[in-house]
């Protein structure tokens, strides 16, 4: 990733020196040897710390919703999936396009993420970003041919019996501590006040040892991002307990595409499938009884 990192540093330095942007939001090497972590460069000298490689996974668009970035002109590094998440926030007027300078990157496929194995949108559209950095000679071809191959756990869970599936998810969800890093890292989970943040509400309480509450939180969150998930894989990546949360989102998206046609959040036109419904859509609960 040397070429992309060098190009990134050069672009960032130029932008900061010319004052075209107030800061550059990208990635830098982490002292703890975790690969790269999000990094903010304010000056040209700090731009030299910027780099990009196959560990630059965290989607950065959600940061711009924070008030620390309000009103600032930000240069933002966006891979394919990041751009899709950013496009959602742009379409909801949560981020001003004119306050952002988009440094698109032809993504070299992050390591450890099943999504990248079948990703067909590694590169943000050239006309929508201000500059596009590619590393032509390393264009990785698809490592997996089908969704099943990239997410083998989904068919294997589906083949389980009802009780086995329950035991599998009970073991996983019982490890959940509700640290909410899955929600905070998810670039499309962007409500101003989240259902799970409101005080004194009865819907879910923070008890860490009640499976029913964990089920509630994870099913509802999966529902809220069902037609928004852009497949960045961060929900499972940041979970300290290694719970494969991305499977819930992928399973829901598979069902959505099966019944209502494929829809790629952040790419296809709005409105998204779950925000509208029509007579011509299939009916599963008609006179003929259960589907």
């Amino acid at each position: 990733m040397r070429k992309i990192s060098e190009a990134l540093r050069e672009v960032a330095g130029r932008l900061l020196r010319s004052g075209e942007v107030d800061l550059v939001l990208g990635y830098a090497w982490s002292e703890q040897g975790q690969g790269t972590v999000p990094y903010v460069a304010f000056t040209a000298e700090e731009a030299a710390n910027l780099c990009f490689d196959t560990t630059s996974r965290m989607a950065l668009s959600k940061y711009l919703l924070q008030d620390t970035f309000l009103g600032k002109r930000v240069a933002l590094v966006v891979k394919g999936c990041d751009y899709r998440a950013l496009k959602l926030s742009l379409s909801e007027n949560r981020i001003e396009r004119k306050h952002t300078y988009l440094i698109g990157i032809d993504c070299p496929m992050m390591d450890g993420s099943p999504f990248c194995l079948i990703c067909q949108h590694k590169c943000p559209p050239a006309e929508d970003v201000d500059i596009l950095l590619t590393e032509a000679d390393e264009a990785g071809e698809l490592k997996a041919s089908s969704h099943q191959e990239a997410f083998p756990e989904i068919p294997s869970i589906e083949r389980m019996s009802g009780d086995e599936r329950f035991e599998y998810w009970k073991r996983q969800l019982n490890r959940c501590k509700r640290c909410y890093s899955c929600r905070h890292a998810c670039p499309v989970c962007t409500c101003r006040q989240c259902l799970f943040d409101r005080d004194n509400q009865d819907a879910v309480d923070p008890a860490k040892d009640v499976l029913a509450q964990h089920q509630f939180y994870h099913i509802i969150r999966a529902f809220h991002v069902a037609d928004r998930c852009v497949g960045c894989g961060q929900c499972a990546q940041v979970c300290p307990e290694g719970i494969p949360l991305h499977l819930l989102h992928q399973k829901l998206q598979l069902e959505l595409h099966k019944h209502y046609g494929s829809y790629r959040a952040g790419l296809d036109e709005l409105p998204s499938p779950l925000s509208h419904a029509h007579a011509h859509e299939p009916d599963f609960f008609g006179k003929v009884g259960k589907q």
Partner: protein, 347 residues
Amino acid sequence: MNSSVKTESLDSLLAACDRLAGKYRIFAPTLEDAVTGFRPLDAMTKEQRKAVDAIAFANKPPVTSVKSFFFPDSEIYIKFSREGRAVTQMDLDVCAPQIILGAKSCDVRSVELIDKVFLAGPIDTMYQERRQKTIVIATVCHEMGDNCACQEFGVSPAASAADVLMAKGCRGDIYLTPQTVKGEQLVQELCTVGSFAVCASLPIPVFDGAVEQLVAEQVQARMDKSFDSPVWERLAMTCIGCGTCTYYCPTCHCYDIRDFSRRDQGVRYRTWDSCMFLSFTNMAGGHNPRPTRADRLRNRFFHKLNYFVKKQGELACVGCGRCAELCPVGISISSVLKQIGSDLHES
């Protein structure tokens, strides 16, 4: 008093523990879905049981610390039911005696730091009972993991104040050295049910203290100087505001008290809370003394490196490296110390 005993392998120690299962609930660190953590010994699969050796003697602590054995993530302390206006409180199940097999010295040290809060002033009896009923067998670390910084915080990887110290010889034989009355009593019980031989010395690696130790008062002073520094604003720009660092830090002990009820029945319970969440200090009128992420982040590190020193005289960190490993954006005690330029970490 503390004569060491020896057994030829960890399996024979585990076998002895199995025979004590009637009296104690025994926990050991193992793998579950590629995540390390303490699990009940009697509920482990064969592979999990085999994995105990590697994880207990690894040079870094498991993801979840021993804190949850004394300060559980959720703990019901009132169970009630109501008929008309009369409320009756049902009694709760008492905590069974338990053995933690394979804790790290950094985790053992972190419990001592939490003791300073929960066992002082109006004693937290729930915590106290669990402390009294738990026997900790700590392992000896032979080398430091990549995120480990225990020696910087005055924790010796090879010596801790645990009830029993456990070390592994070169041929896989296990040495147990009791260090407290509870430890002595446990070792005797183990000897009666397992094949142990009394032995003299315990092969503990010597750490020559090459690593220079942080002085609590100096770190506190440097933090005082950096209160208004832009460091906190900068760190808060990439922090995503989740609760991972607080829930997995072995010295974090903040909690929330909540009620759950349904018609005429309910419980009041205590559960972990995180100072990184907005609702931690949000008041009924909407007033919040720490409204921004930078406020909350600064408060978290001040509690560990400044307030705790002023109140208890010690840094509230044991250098276990969990924050460095688990924070999605790489913010940790050592990265903060570097940024505020503590004497050891010149930035």
